[in-house]
């Protein structure tokens, strides 16, 4: 296996970035060897790349189901565990049980969305990563991993499409 090389370039404009990425694809660089970092969310297909399949909706649904079950348990089961009669109402009735179940379902959905998105992004991650500070100033950073022989072609593509600061990236603490 030949040695992998890395180059990081920053672009000022999205069309140029997309053209550069297309050219990189044609050269044989795989999509998962390219990382685009931006300070602004661009629409998913703006750079012609494969959109990741998310597990988040499934995590949220599972969390919601768990919350539903827990809410039902609290509202419907616990009054029977230590039975105390309340005058005028049965031990378990629909309206209060519905409220409690609803609120716990929502609570679990919210918490599982938050934890799920953190888990799926592998956050928190405080180790060193490849990054460029100009990203938050509006530049679009393209990090390319490639096999060593391709280096000159990759460099040329990045330059012709307007890339700046083309260099081997250093790992930074983020």
């Amino acid at each position: 296996m030949s040695e992998a090389g890395r180059l990081l370039a920053v672009f000022r404009e999205s069309t140029a970035t997309a053209d550069a990425i297309d050219a990189l694809h044609e050269t044989g660089v795989q999509d998962d060897q390219i990382v685009v970092m931006t300070g602004v969310p661009y629409p998913e297909r703006a750079f012609g790349r494969h959109v990741e399949w998310l597990r988040l909706p499934h995590i949220v649904l599972a969390g919601a189901a768990g919350g539903l079950i827990f809410g039902l348990f609290l509202a419907v089961i616990t009054p029977h565990l230590y039975r105390l009669d309340i005058g005028g109402h049965p031990t378990v009735s629909f309206a209060p049980a519905a409220i409690i179940t609803f609120v716990f379902t929502m609570m679990a959905t919210i918490i599982s969305t938050f934890l799920g998105v953190l888990w799926e992004m592998n956050f928190p991650e405080f180790g060193t990563k490849f990054y460029h500070r100009l990203v938050t100033d509006g530049y679009l950073a393209v990090l390319v991993e490639f096999e060593a022989p391709l280096e000159n072609r990759v460099r040329l593509i990045l330059e012709t499409h307007g890339g700046e600061h083309i260099e081997r990236p250093e790992r930074q603490t983020l």
């Binding site: 009669d85 005058g87 005028g88």
Partner: protein
Amino acid sequence: MEKAVKPSAKTQKNASERRWGMVIDLDRCTGCQACVVACHAENNVPVVGEREAASGRTMHWIRIERYWEGEYPNVKARFMPVLCQQCTQAPCEPVCPVFATYHTAEGLNAQIYNRCIGTRFCGSACPYKVRVFNWFRPEFPEPLGEQLNPDVSERSRGIIEKCSFCIQRLRRAELDASASGNPLADGAVQPACVQSCPSSALIFGDMNDPESHVSRLALSHRAFRLLDFLGTDPAVIYLKGGETNV
């Protein structure tokens, strides 16, 4: 034949045979407040003092409500004793977040002092406003501290309390009855207010026993219940008075 005005007999699956109830004959009540004093003595209810009483913080578990009617010289005083009605469909019970108040098998509305955290939701929910709150630590200036009833727990500040139909007397009577094997006779156990009334205006007994004094009185054409239209189904039945009373 008049239908008896009485609380619903069985409202819970685990209801016992008994349903304690009280009849208050307003024709006999003289407004002497002996019942109020007896209740204070029996249940360790503190006296709050003049200033607190003026702020609406009296702690009478039973109170004599007095209303003036008419203009001088035809002024009438109308009064009636009001205590916890021990409602079958008590509006105060479902609202307590910690189950400090619940419905016993004998139809009593029980208040558990050491469970109460003092949200005062039950106090707001009660339409008769019979629930009282310990705003400060109850104090018994000497020598009142010597006459505290050991059968009734002393409450701390921050707790709601109310009439319990002298449940300590009911329990003791039931224990004695089951120990001796003799059934509890009608009128054998009386709350302090009933016991102290000089004109026997308050009568206490088992509403589920058709032979008991309260059940027979409940058949009277004078019988009514306070705020009946609210549907609280109280266990306290009033008998209408004549000229002088409600």
